[in-house]
């Protein structure tokens, strides 16, 4: 009894954040071990309950993990470097970044036997883009010509069309896509699950297909979605695409608590957990060794500032706030060193990321911060920090920031406005906020453009707008490859100089898996765990 009890107590100690060890783990995406691996077998994956299983209807990462097995979108991202490769498509061509011709694979079918054609893609995209359907991935289609006719922005207005005028089925395997404006990142968008095809049965009855999805991927759903308990996938024997699945079966076990999922992983009741809690990092590394990985995620936290509030208009003041924040101390104390202090506006593994983009502005320098703060005329009145109660760590780091601003800049009157996420998002928007607020960005696809568009879109929460910035983003959109990246980087520099959003830290995800499985490839993009590649060794 004694040894088990002391282990239990030690584990409890880790749970209460007393663990002193720091996380180190391997950097970069989880590398596949060159285990030969044989096909067959079954394994299980820990998951949080998805909201929907219809591609256009969801943007939740838990849903996307299941869709990774069920659907083949037109493109896929390389788990190593994020480059775009064809998946359900075979090629895409354009001359002007406006009109794109996408060729799809022929001879593939859905799980119900229906042929996958260019029309299956067009139907799925039209359904997702149609405003009154109110599907979650609606805004992913905003770049396509005709989107506005399906989504009138005037209140009470009815859409004047049911289908996107920019989509034209040329033949059974060719789709022509016309965009509203040049957009060189379009192929990357095609890797997002919302662009997967849907069979006629699904577009006719989306509610049924939402719980019993009919995909074109290497796995099909096996039996009903057992709500809050289990989702079972089995190999689709009729699969003719490029991702030959290794294991015969994948079971998703659904957990509400990550701590519980981690305990289940230790007990050998589940094989993979891609969201090991930060608090368990040292313990997980000790217990799982090589079968534990830390990978940078594209998700970042920012401190948004209401730049229309006269007290926040001076960019020098905004930079002073940034320099007065000890990112390293906070990530160590609150996230066990699993999160990394931000040095740029974008995540580490984004093509075009520069480690020094933010430079001195993101470095902790209380003396220089104080000087800059004084030069900008200081800060009058009450500083109200806004954040949601969705996670307990938000209050912890907001408290740290408050203390640092008090100590380093002498802002004495700092208060907290903690509220439910629904209240917070209603309160923010177009610079209506009364003070700094927590802003988070989860990437849709690995491009600097995704951050720039997601954070600084017209009418964004900080209220900031800049013509030069907009022109540079448009210039980048009109190009591809290194030329696009160069323009986006120039735009990033403006956003960092003006600083409506102070970059705080980059999230990292921790995964651990059992010794029953090999070839565990987890990418930081929409795909997550590559279900088709995992091999079962027993």
């Amino acid at each position: 009894m004694n040894p088990s009890r002391s282990t239990a107590l030690a584990a409890a100690a880790v749970l209460t954040l007393v663990a002193s060890a720091t996380a180190c783990g391997s950097d970069g995406p989880a590398k596949p071990k060159n285990a030969p691996g044989k096909p067959g077998g079954a394994y299980s994956v820990a998951l949080t309950e998805p909201d929907h299983l219809l591609p256009g209807r969801t943007t939740s990462s838990y849903s996307l993990q299941v869709l990774q097995g069920l659907f083949d979108p037109p493109a896929a991202l390389d788990p190593e470097n994020g480059s775009v490769k064809p998946l359900a498509a075979v090629s895409w061509t354009t001359t002007d970044n406006v009109v794109w011709t996408v060729k799809f694979r022929s001879g593939t079918t859905f799980h119900n036997g229906e042929k996958v054609t260019a029309a299956s893609f067009a139907d799925a995209w039209n359904a997702a883009a149609y405003g009154p359907n109110a599907w979650d991935a609606n805004y992913y289609f905003a770049q396509i010509r005709g989107y506005d006719a399906l989504n009138p922005s005037k209140e009470g207005a009815k859409p004047s069309a049911r289908t996107l005028s920019g989509l034209k089925v040329l033949d059974e395997t060719t789709l022509q896509v016309t965009l509203k404006a040049p957009f060189g990142q379009f192929p990357m968008l095609l890797s997002f699950p919302a662009f997967a095809p849907l069979p006629k049965a699904a577009t006719a009855n989306p509610d049924a297909a939402d719980v019993a999805p009919i995909g074109n991927g290497p796995y099909r759903i096996d039996g009903a979605w057992e709500r809050n308990r289990k989702i079972r996938l089995a190999k689709f024997t009729g699969y003719r695409g490029p991702r030959k699945p290794m294991a015969d079966r994948v079971d998703f076990k659904i957990y509400t608590s990550r701590e519980t999922a981690f305990t289940e992983l230790q007990a050998g009741n589940v094989d993979v957990l891609t969201t090991v809690p930060a608090a368990n990092s040292a313990q997980a590394e000790r217990l799982f060794g090589e079968r534990f990985s830390i990978r940078p995620s594209g998700t970042m936290d920012y401190l948004g500032l209401p730049v229309k509030d006269p007290r926040f208009t001076d960019p020098r003041l905004r930079r002073a706030l940034s320099m007065a924040i000890d990112r390293k101390g906070i990530t160590q104390a609150i996230y066990n060193g699993v999160y990394k202090p931000a040095t740029s506006l974008v995540g580490d593994m984004i093509p075009g990321h520069r480690t020094d983009a933010c430079g001195r502005t993101c470095a902790y320098d209380p003396v220089a911060a104080k000087q800059l703060f004084e030069a900008a005329g200081g800060f009058e009145g009450r500083l109200e920090l806004h954040f949601s109660n969705a996670d307990t760590t938000y209050e912890q780091w907001m408290t740290s920031i408050a203390n640092q601003l008090k100590e380093n800049l002498g802002i004495q009157d700092v208060t907290f406005r903690k509220m439910a996420p629904a209240d917070l998002s209603a309160l923010l928007g177009e610079g209506r906020s009364k003070g700094p607020f927590r802003q988070n960005w989860v990437i849709d696809y690995p491009s600097i453009q995704n951050y720039l568009d997601g954070l600084y879109y017209p009418g964004n929460r900080s209220g900031w707008s800049n013509e030069e910035f907009d022109a540079l983003v448009a210039e980048g959109n009109a190009a591809q490859g290194p030329r696009a990246i160069a323009s986006y980087q120039k735009a990033e520099d403006i956003a960092l100089r003006e600083l409506p959003y102070i970059p705080l830290w980059n999230w990292q995800d921790q995964s651990a898996w059992s010794d029953r499985i090999d070839n565990v490839i987890i990418d930081p993009y929409a795909a997550g765990l590559h279900l088709d590649r995992v091999t079962v060794s027993d």
């Binding site: 609606n138 629904a422 209240d423």
Partner: protein
Amino acid sequence: MPAQTYPWGPSVVWRFVARRLLHALPVLLGTTFLIYTLVFVLPGDPIQGLAGDKPVPPAVLAELHARYHLDDPLWVQYTHYLTGLLTGDLGTTFTGRDVSELLADRWAVTLQLGLTAWVLEVVLGMALGVWAGLRKGKWDDSAVLFGTTLVISVPVFVVGYLAQLVFGVQLGWLPVAGTEGGWPLAYLLPGLVLASFGLAYVARLTRSSLIENLRADYVRTAHSKGLSRRRVVVRHTLRNSLIPVVTFLGLELGGLMAGAVVTEYIFNLPGVGQQLFQSIQLREGPVVVGTTTALVLVFLLANLLVDLLYGLLDPRIRHD
């Protein structure tokens, strides 16, 4: 032992039950209105909240507001809800799931968990209490007192995680989490954790109540009449000592159903506690109202049961 009957006829009891059930109707209706109003007056836009930090296109926002009647005034929304209720339609969640289906699914889990915990409290709690009470001042009485104090003072999530690590991971006797093992296997550990606090309380309550009654005059009289110790304790003392215990256990029955949020979370049991917590966060009016109303119903029935038991335990208590 002769069969215990009410000192008054069965028709009195049935009239009492019928009257109480009729009283329950306005209470339930009032609950739905009160909860609906409370959810309604909460500030913020639930649809925006769902999207998190991502922008929601205006057309999508307008459609979802219309679908869930979010722009209508309170009385219109509530009328929509009541009309649905009368036709057995409890509404849908924001993910489009039927609330009645969801509640049936969740209540099955919570009832199994709550009843398991309740039975453990009744059986183990009362047994420990009687044992300690009869052995007052001896070492085993002290052990029960110490043990129950310990359990009462440790928070439930610590007990829960420890129980998982010891019985689930180290010893492997019981499932760590989830409902896969089915009843009773999957519910034993969470049931015990959920019951731990109440169990300790029942044991202490039974003990002190028993000790007090053992000193009473009528017990001395019973002894002097030559009745066996067993008969004096079981037939006379224990029965009289149960009134406060039954009161506690009755309220506890409802409390266990409503208060299992932490246990359900730790043991990954998809019950109503979890759902209620999530739905309040999301502002899902129909789910919050449906769940709470069902909880109120459980409390009302548990109270009725307690009142009926009073009559059995103490004939002086009349139902009129």
